[in-house]
Amino acid sequence: MTIEDIQQEIIEEFSVFEDWMDKYAYLIELGNDLEPIDAKYKIDDNLIRGCQSRVWLHPEKDGDKILFEAESDAIIVKGLVALLLRVLSNRSPKEIIDADLHFIDDIGLKQHLSPTRSNGLLAMVKQMKLYALAYEKLSQQEG
């Protein structure tokens, strides 16, 4: 499935919720289900500091793909992190760089990616793209 397919899938999943609180309840569920980041990666070097919540992000090269592990101390943020991982993890650097993440907007959670929200999510997306850029540069040099 492409990044676009996954985004459509998520939009579909969220379309069943009429009440906003149900959307958040689902995000809490996703947050609870997210595998915790390996303790050895939950370090300050991997920390994205938001004013309100924190996100840890660790990239790992796997062949021509990048695997991300991530976690947050806030459960709603963790739920959103889970969605971002579903869309962007295990993808090639080029796919990650080119990704247009419209699903957050489409499921009505755009405010969580606005710069003013300062929960670390926007910085996490930027960081994922930066890692992708770096890996792409590296593979070009190696190639």
């Binding site: 906003w20 609180m21 958040y24 309840a25 809490i28 004013c51 309100q52 919540s53 924190r54 101390d73 806030a74 459960i75 709603i76 943020v77 929960n119």
Partner: protein, 405 residues
């Protein structure tokens, strides 16, 4: 006098609206207060009819504006009972006022090896300017701690002071814990050693305005938007004996007496510290806001806020797993809390979804978060226009959210 607070609430049109399809419950008054219609009207009327730059033009509107600006200064003077009008400096807010003193007082009176004393309860705005000053002058910042209830360990203050202490800077009321600090004692202890005191009144001004002459503090600073006035206007009260000796903070028009390339002389107080075009409409509307709270009686408003605080405290305490931070005997209507197992960001997000506006996070008080060892808190803060029903709405929302985890 018994006030009809339901009627008074109607003075604040912003409160009558829905957010996310739910009636707005605004409990973020410590961050900023809402504005009564009279303040909104004043701003509009001024721009519609009177606007002209102050102290400059000879024309009708310039004179009217200048007069209104100076009247507002007089209103502020009376509100805090300053000795003279020229001791009231208009700034952009508390933060600028503190920075002004940290710079100008620092230039005049602080040198290498000197000490400044703050408390662990301070907002970053009453910490960072002093840290910058200490860095500039190679001075040392000392910190008065607070106890588990959020009360300053006032008995330790004298021990922190030395002959090198140049200033004590503390808040009147804590923005995070709501503690009302014993400012008279702080001044008394510091003055015994002839050390001046700056009080950050951002959270005190709306509830317990000081009589600065009786209190005898050397500086008192606050923001207009915390007392139902507009944003972008604030006040620095300073005793003339200090202000006269302090060099200007910023240069520009209005603050000068004569400008020559061979050297410039400065205007007298308060203009020496008011360079450029001030926020005169903000100042005028701040005057209106002060008139408004005085017409209701500040004491009456404080009593009402205590009622809401007591009710909310009892309600919140009945929630299992809820912990209130800061339980000083003397508090304003501020409750910071956590619910076991729920991050403050999650709590704030879900409360917002239910129409309840609170503050979450570190509230510009990292040292308080570190003291309690928490990443953040959730804060409900009350104003006199809040209602018992809103306290109930907060309680019910918290119960509902708790059930989601």
């Amino acid at each position: 006098m018994s006030l009809d607070f339901r009627k008074i609430r109607k003075d604040f049109p912003i409160l009558d609206q829905q957010v996310h399809g739910k009636p707005l419950v605004y409990l973020d008054n410590a961050a900023t207060t809402q504005k009564p219609q009279v303040v909104l009207d004043k701003v509009e009327e001024f721009y519609l009819k009177t606007n002209a730059n102050i102290h400059r033009g000879a024309h009708f509107m310039a004179n009217e504006t200048t007069e209104a600006f100076e009247e507002a200064r007089e209103t502020v003077r009376q509100y805090i009972n300053a000795g003279e009008r020229s001791e009231i400096i208009f700034t952009h807010g508390t933060t600028e006022s503190v920075n002004l003193v940290a710079f100008s007082f620092g230039e005049a009176f602080v040198s290498e090896g000197d000490e400044i004393v703050v408390s662990e309860l301070e907002h970053h705005a009453n910490i960072v300017p002093w840290q910058l000053l200490c860095e500039r002058k190679k001075a040392t910042l000392k910190v008065l701690p607070f106890d588990e209830n959020g009360v300053l360990k006032i008995d330790e203050l004298d021990g922190l002071l030395s002959e090198r202490t140049r200033l004590v800077a503390m808040n009147h009321v804590s923005n995070t814990l709501g503690t009302i600090n014993p400012v008279d004692k702080i001044v008394e202890i510091a003055h015994k050693r002839n050390i001046p005191v700056l009080l950050d009144g951002a959270q005190g001004i709306a509830h317990y305005p000081p009589d600065v002459q009786k209190l005898d503090c050397d500086f008192y600073v606050f923001s207009g938007h915390k007392i139902y006035g507009p944003t972008g206007i604030g006040v620095l009260y300073g005793k003339r004996k200090w202000l006269d000796q302090m060099p200007p903070f910023m240069g520009g028009g209005e603050m000068i007496s004569e400008v020559k390339f061979s050297g410039t002389t400065f205007n007298e107080l308060p203009y020496k510290f008011e360079p450029g075009t001030p926020n005169y409409i903000g100042a005028v509307a701040l005057g209106t806001a002060i008139d408004y709270v005085q017409s209701l009686g500040v004491d009456n408003l404080a009593v009402r806020e205590q009622e809401l605080l007591n009710l909310a405290t009892a309600k919140l305490k009945s929630i299992e797993g809820l912990r209130i931070f800061g339980e000083a005997e003397n508090k304003v209507g501020v409750i910071s809390f956590e619910i076991e197992g729920i991050h403050s960001f999650d709590l704030g997000t879900l409360l917002d979804q239910l129409g309840v506006a609170v503050r979450t996070g570190r509230m510009c008080t990292d040292p308080i978060m570190d003291h309690f060892g928490v990443p953040g808190m959730t804060r409900a803060s009350f104003a006199f226009y809040n209602t018992e029903e809103e306290v109930e709405a907060l309680y019910k929302a918290l119960i509902r959210i708790k059930g989601m985890f």
